[in-house]
């Protein structure tokens, strides 16, 4: 991930986090403020309701008392007390009285509890209303259930007694708890009051009233009402009328009980969350816009910051990559300054300069070392034939001085020896010349299996040579291996070097295994022996030219193998442990990359290694 992207992400995250934090804080504060306001409104409304309730109760008490104090009621009581009384005379009395005193319900009740007249249900005359007699001692107004023709009603009720001749007649009147009552409550904006009249067991949707009529989706309030009924106790609950959060409403339920503390109605004060949700949405919208602006600004800032910060870093990265690619002369040019990056660039340039200097010194040292090694090899190689030359010449001089008669014989013998040794010197020099003249591969389709078979045939006689421990050669060829594009001569030369190396590694005999494998689009060639194996130090220097662990090697064999493999675009690796033999793996592509032939001579000349030398017998430290 680039520094520019990192900067962008960091700035975006910072903007988002800060905006989200501000939005959350503002939303939370708004929510708490709304909740406080809602609680205050609810409390005020409940208080207002209780005040109105109490006031209406007083009004009911006053009106009922006024009716009870009327002369006509007293006359009625006296008349009904006489025997035989005709109560039918007063059957319509309550209706007129209720209308005159603005009461929704009014019952005139005889001492035995029988209704003389009922304004709410005139037809109920004669039937008993025991609760009126029972509740006559209530000092104030109370909630009571009134039976009506179509359905019962709940009313704020008062009962007054009229004493006549030691007997009590009763006047019971009430104001209904209904929509009119709800409509009379003054509600703040966003609040409403509902009234559930508990007229029948279970939840009855039509008994849930609002000031404007019935309530939509009344069943949603059923659980809250059921919980209040279980108490009864004051409860608060939040409802969602739809999937829109703005439809949420918090309800405060206030149970309304009768004289016997039985639950008759429930006042539900609803406080809409709409304003709060809309404010939250507005805050979110503003936050989103601010965040979007912040992100845009962050992009611009990060772009500028990245340009300011990351461009030198990118130059440094490019420089480091160039160095990694071998261009040690690479320099990073930055504006002169005293900043860390400028110091870093200067240090980088200083480092690459030192690297180049050290490389040059190392090359020079290696070159000197190579020449020394070459000189050592040449001295060693040349010393062997020179010593017999010197002996032979000295023998000739001694023979000429001491026994001239045998001089001719000695001369002939010495001449043969001198020629043989000179031939040996020529051979040594031609090997070095061959290595120096490694040709560029000329590719053509090559059947690797066939090439392996041909190469092994060449060595079959040596594997079974008399006087030498036998080497058991084994082929393990993949017949599905397709021909590859390669130079057959170079490839064969490399293979022969590996086989010779293996033979040298097994002076006491052993197993030689040559295998081929198809590996994706490449061909793999494996040469294994069961010789002494290599030490780690030997393995590391194995492909170094002129390095050999053998007594009579030139150190060019495996260098030639590596050069051939490299020129074909392939890879060579070695696996070996002391005492467990050595395995060389060569992986050759089906088609070598373009221009492989130029690599080997270039490298050879760059390393400054003199040409020549047969490698087969010089490599093979195992």
């Amino acid at each position: 991930v680039s520094l520019r992207l990192k900067l962008l992400l960091v700035s975006t995250l910072l903007v988002l986090a800060s905006v989200a934090a501000v939005a959350w804080v503002v939303t939370e504060l708004a929510r708490r403020a709304f909740e406080r306001a809602s609680e205050q409104h609810t409390a005020a409304l409940v208080e207002q309701f209780q005040r109105d309730f109490s006031g209406r109760g007083d009004e009911v008490v006053r009106r009922v008392a006024a009716i009870a104090d009327q002369e006509s009621i007293l006359r009625m009581a006296i008349d009904v007390s006489r025997a035989p009384a005709d109560r039918a005379l007063y059957v319509n009395e309550a209706r007129a009285l209720a209308a005159a005193h603005q009461l929704d319900f009014l019952d005139l009740v005889a001492p035995d509890g029988a209704i003389i007249s009922s304004a709410g249900w005139p037809a109920r005359f004669g039937y008993k209303e025991d609760w009126i007699v029972g509740d006559a001692n209530q000092s104030g107004a109370f909630l009571a259930r009134w039976e009506l023709p179509e359905s019962p009603a709940i009313a704020l009720t008062s009962v007054a007694a009229v004493r006549v001749g030691g007997r009590s007649f009763y006047v019971a009147g009430g104001l209904a708890l209904d929509r009119r009552f709800l409509a009379s409550l003054v509600l703040p904006a966003g609040m409403r009051a509902l009234l559930y009249l508990r007229l029948a067991p279970g939840f009855v949707p039509t008994d849930l009233l609002s000031a404007s009529g019935f309530v939509d989706q009344p069943e949603k309030l059923a659980p809250l009402i059921a919980r209040v009924e279980q108490g009864p106790r004051e409860l608060r609950a939040e409802l969602a009328w739809s999937s829109d959060p703005a439809s949420r409403e918090t309800f405060y339920a206030l149970p309304l009980t009768g004289a016997d503390h039985d639950l008759l109605a429930i006042l539900l004060v609803g406080s809409s969350d709409r304003d709060r949700v809309l404010l939250e949405r507005y805050i979110r919208l503003v936050s989103t816009l601010v965040a979007a602006g912040g992100i845009l600004l962050g992009i611009l800032l990060s772009w500028w910051a990245a340009s300011w910060v990351s461009r030198p870093v990118e130059k440094l990265v490019a420089g480091a990559r160039a160095v990694a690619a071998g261009k040690w002369e690479t320099r990073v040019e930055l504006d002169s300054g005293r900043g860390e990056l400028s110091q870093l660039a200067r240090a980088f340039n200083q480092m690459t300069a030192q690297l180049v200097e050290q490389r040059d010194r190392l090359v020079q040292a290696e070159r000197v070392a190579a020449w020394r090694e070459l000189a050592r090899r040449l001295a060693h190689e040349l010393k062997n034939p020179l010593f017999p030359l010197q002996i032979t010449v000295e023998n000739l001089e001694r023979a000429r001085d001491s026994s001239p008669e045998q001089f001719d014989e000695v001369f002939r013998e010495s001449t043969r020896t001198l020629l043989a040794e000179l031939e040996n010197l020529k051979t040594i020099l031609s090997r070095f010349g061959d290595f120096a003249r490694m040709p560029a591969p000329v590719v053509e389709p090559v059947d690797v299996n066939e090439l392996v078979r041909d190469a092994l045939k060449l060595f079959e006689a040596q594997f079974r040579a008399p006087g030498r421990p036998a080497i058991d050669a084994r082929l393990d060829l993949d017949e599905t291996l397709a021909p590859i594009q390669a130079d057959p001569g170079l490839l064969r030369r490399a293979l022969e070097n590996l086989i010779l190396n293996a033979m040298d590694a097994m002076p006491a005999g052993g197993d030689l295994r040559v295998a081929t494998r198809r590996k994706d689009s490449s061909a793999e060639l494996v040469v294994s022996d069961t010789g002494q194996g290599l030490t780690p130090e030997e393995r590391d220097r194995l492909f170094t030219p002129y390095y050999t662990s053998k007594q009579h090697g030139t150190g060019l064999g495996l260098a030639i193998v590596q050069s051939v493999v490299s020129d074909h675009g392939g890879k060579i690796s070695v696996e070996s442990e002391p005492g467990r033999g050595t395995t060389f793996r060569i992986e050759l592509p089906a088609r070598p990359p373009a221009g492989p032939s130029s690599a080997s001579p270039g490298r050879a000349s760059e390393q400054g290694t003199p040409a020549g030398g047969e490698a087969g017998r010089s490599a093979g430290p195992s």
Binding site: D86, A88, N92, W121, A123, F125, G126, Y127, P149, E150
Partner: protein, 464 residues
């Protein structure tokens, strides 16, 4: 004191007596104003009517403008009217009526057998009519007509004809002068009526007036006769108004509707029949202006009404309801425009609930039961019972011989009331309050007998 002074005093003392005598003598002139709660859209007897109050009003109005061939006399027997005599044919399938001569309709057309046949043919398309010599009319049928005379005595069979201007004219003492359907009917005296010119010059009838307005108009002298609700009777008496009531002319009854689940529950029907407190209906709702009824026909008509027990039995009703194990709710329909019906329906609901039934009064169908108001139109038990049974749609269950004895009538009525499909509740009379200037209000008070008899009424002079 001087003799002239004494003479003056004597003459002065005689003056009020002379004035009183003059006021009590019938006098011609004046127009009576009658205000009613019921209303009528058309006077045409062929127009079907469902509301018995409208039927009763039409009967009254028809008897003002028209006559029947025969009529019921005060003793309940059929007597001649437009027909002077009649002769029944063999098998009771025909009857020949001899028409009263020299009778003319109010437009001047003579009363002929053809005109009578034309008037009756509209009402009885199954009858055969044969006019002969302009004065006799044979009415026949393929079936025996044992109730022919009773039928013809019903006000609905008044003889009317269409005048050239399309108005209905009859042979009665008053002719229709103005008709505003459902609101107003104005009649004028017919100077040429065969029964003689009535005292009144005219009659103005206001229909569909509210009870309170009627009583107020009477108290203010803006009306002379007003129909009363039972609950207004006491108030009218307290205001020193004259109150007149007829014999029971209407019956309130519960009629269960066949096919409705609640109505098909026999226990529920019996429980509700037992739960209803008829005494409370009579004494309180009707303020003793009616009679508890457990029979279809009123006691004044049959004399056996007492045989049917009117007392309820709440305990038994509750027991039946308990046995019924949650009987279905019952919807009770009643005529919401009828305040008496509304009060009775409300009380039935209360009584039903006290017995454990859920009875809901409702102003309209569908209903499991209906509170019906049935008119007693004839003063004879057999035709009256037949008419009631027809109205209730149970005439097929009525088996009555042509001349049924009281026992047979009783048995027939018991059969009709078995299983409580119909539960009689209360009989109700017609109630009127009369203004002070209305004199000789001599209505028979018997349904089907002469109606209001406004031809005999006269108005006292207004006191100066």
């Amino acid at each position: 004191m001087k003799p002239t002074g004494l003479l003056f005093l004597a003459l002065l003392s005689l003056a009020p007596a002379a004035h009183l005598r003059a006021a009590e003598r019938p006098r011609y002139g004046g127009s009576v104003r009658i205000e009613l709660g019921s209303s009528l859209a058309s006077l045409d007897p062929a127009a079907p009517l469902a509301d018995p109050r409208a039927v009763a009003l039409r009967d009254h109005l028809l008897l003002l403008v028209a006559d029947r061939l025969v009529r019921y006399g005060p003793d309940g027997r059929v007597e001649p009217a437009l027909a002077l005599s009649w002769t029944a044919g063999p098998g009771g399938r025909t009857c020949v009526f001899t028409l009263r001569p020299d009778v003319r309709f109010q437009d001047g057309a003579p009363l002929t057998a053809v005109a009578v046949a034309d008037a009756l043919r509209v009402l009885h398309p199954g009858w055969r009519f044969r006019a002969a010599a302009g004065e006799s009319l044979e009415i026949g049928s393929d079936e025996p007509l044992p109730e022919l005379l009773s039928e013809l005595a019903a006000p609905v069979n008044s003889i009317l004809r269409r005048a050239s201007d399309g108005s209905l004219v009859g042979t009665g003492p008053f002719r229709l002068a103005e008709w505003q359907p459902g609101r107003l009917a104005r009649f004028l005296a017919d100077d040429d009526a065969w029964v003689g010119r009535p005292y009144l010059d005219g009659i103005e009838i206001l229909m569909g007036r509210a009870p309170r307005e009627r009583l107020l108009d009477l108290a203010l002298g803006q009306a002379d006769v007003v129909a009363l609700l039972p609950e207004q009777v006491r108030q009218a008496i307290q205001q020193s108004m004259r109150v007149w009531s007829s014999k029971a002319s209407e019956l309130f009854a519960l009629e269960f509707v066949h096919g409705r689940p609640a109505a098909e529950d026999a226990r529920l029907r019996e429980a509700l029949a037992l739960a209803v407190d008829r005494t409370a209906l009579r004494d309180v709702l009707l303020e003793k202006q009616g009679a508890s009824a457990a029979s279809l026909l009123p006691d004044w008509l049959t004399g056996y009404g007492f045989v049917f027990p009117v007392a309820g039995d709440q305990a038994r009703a509750r027991q039946l309801t308990a046995e019924d194990n949650h009987p279905p709710p019952l919807r009770l329909a009643f005529d919401s425009s009828d305040p008496v019906a509304a009060a009775i329906a409300g009380r039935i609901a209360v009584d039903g609930r006290a017995a454990g039934l859920v009875v809901t009064p409702a102003g309209a169908d569908p209903a499991d039961a209906r509170l019906v108001r049935l008119g007693i139109e004839l003063p004879e038990p057999r035709p009256a019972l037949l008419a009631l049974a027809r109205t209730l749609g149970i005439a097929d269950r009525l088996r009555l011989p042509a001349r049924a004895s009281p026992e047979e009538l009783l048995a027939a009525e018991r059969t009709l009331l078995a299983d409580d499909w119909v539960v009689p509740l209360v009989d109700l009379p017609e109630l009127y309050a009369l203004g002070p200037r209305v004199k000789d209000w001599m209505a028979s008070g018997v349904p089907g007998v002469d109606g209001w008899r406004l031809e005999d009424v006269w108005l006292a002079e207004e006191s100066k």
